[in-house]
């Protein structure tokens, strides 16, 4: 009797991550090897001008093209389409999405996998707000905005998940495929919409506390524009789901 083994496809959308990409790949390889789960890493580079793709090619030579897959695109086209594009040639039955800038640590992936097996969850979401989840490198203003926005989202959407804007998640592949098709928002709101629609479709959601280490906060400011578009997106979800 042939037992179909679980395989985990990690989707890494990248833009100007020449420095971080080798490090995140090294960590992924380390934790997957240690835990023994079968995996592949799919790098979706959106035409980075800093040579990210070239580094990705070197990594492919080092780790093998069955472990590192390259699915580059010509220019920055957005996260939803990056997931769709990346999944087209994914051979895993599970998909892991995460940031490539080292804010998400691969050490949590075995925990995601175990959590998923525990309850056969359709998706497992990393949460910064529960258990011993948390952040590093955020000042008071950032924490206030984050908690305030999350509170507002909880009140309006009652989503049954504690971290709506997080992007460190494990999905069953068919679940991610069906959700990405339906989601139309951008940015932070996109990740929120994914969870809201998942609940609508009665998918089950598990949670694992994660630590989010922000090393680039100084450069990427959370300004008025981002806040306004977040609120607009939230209200749209409120009125349409």
């Amino acid at each position: 009797m042939r037992v179909r083994e679980d395989k985990y496809s990690v989707l890494l959308p990248t833009y100007n991550e020449r420095e971080n990409l080798p490090l995140i790949v090294w960590l992924l390889v380390k934790y997957f090897n240690e835990s023994g789960y079968n995996y592949e890493i799919i790098i979706i580079d959106d035409g980075s001008p800093d040579g990210t793709l070239e580094v990705a090619e070197q990594l492919q030579k080092i780790y093998g093209s069955n472990k590192i897959l390259l699915r580059p695109r010509e220019k920055k086209l957005g996260l939803g389409t990056a997931y769709i594009h990346g999944m087209k040639h994914a051979s895993g039955n599970f998909v892991i999405i995460m940031d490539a800038d080292l804010s998400h640590h691969p050490k949590f992936i075995p925990e995601f996998i175990e959590k998923q097996k525990e309850g056969d969850y359709d998706l497992v979401s990393g949460t910064r707000y529960r258990g011993n989840g948390g952040v590093y490198g955020w000042d008071l203003r950032r924490k206030l905005i984050s908690r305030g926005a999350n509170f507002l989202s909880q009140v309006l959407l009652r989503p049954g998940a504690s971290d709506l804007t997080g992007s460190f998640r494990l999905y069953k592949k068919h679940v991610l495929e069906s959700l990405v098709e339906r989601c139309v928002s951008k940015g932070y709101v996109f990740q929120m919409e994914m969870i809201v629609r998942a609940r609508q479709l009665n998918y089950t959601v598990g949670e694992v506390p994660i630590s989010f280490v922000d090393r680039v906060y100084g450069e990427s400011k959370l300004g008025g524009n981002e806040i306004v578009s977040f609120v607009k997106g939230l209200l749209t979800l409120f009125a349409t789901t």
Partner: protein, 92 residues
Amino acid sequence: MTKLLQWLLGVSLVLTAWALVSFDLLELSLPPAYREMAWPMPLYLLVSFGCYSLATVGYRVATFNDCVDAAKELQVQIKEAKADLRKKGLKM
């Protein structure tokens, strides 16, 4: 039903109940104590919710976990990774 509609439904129900009691719309001749208590309820509820929100967000900000160890561990692993990758032939 969208969340917006759920909210509108909930708010309409509460306001209807409030109006019925406060203005005695069904002419039930309720004791004045009921009417006196019901009258300021919407305002009380709003203010309570406001206070609850401030307290909750304040508490959550104050207890927001700072992952100092995670940051340190990451730094150590970055060094390890760079050394190992250089050995494997990566040109950085």
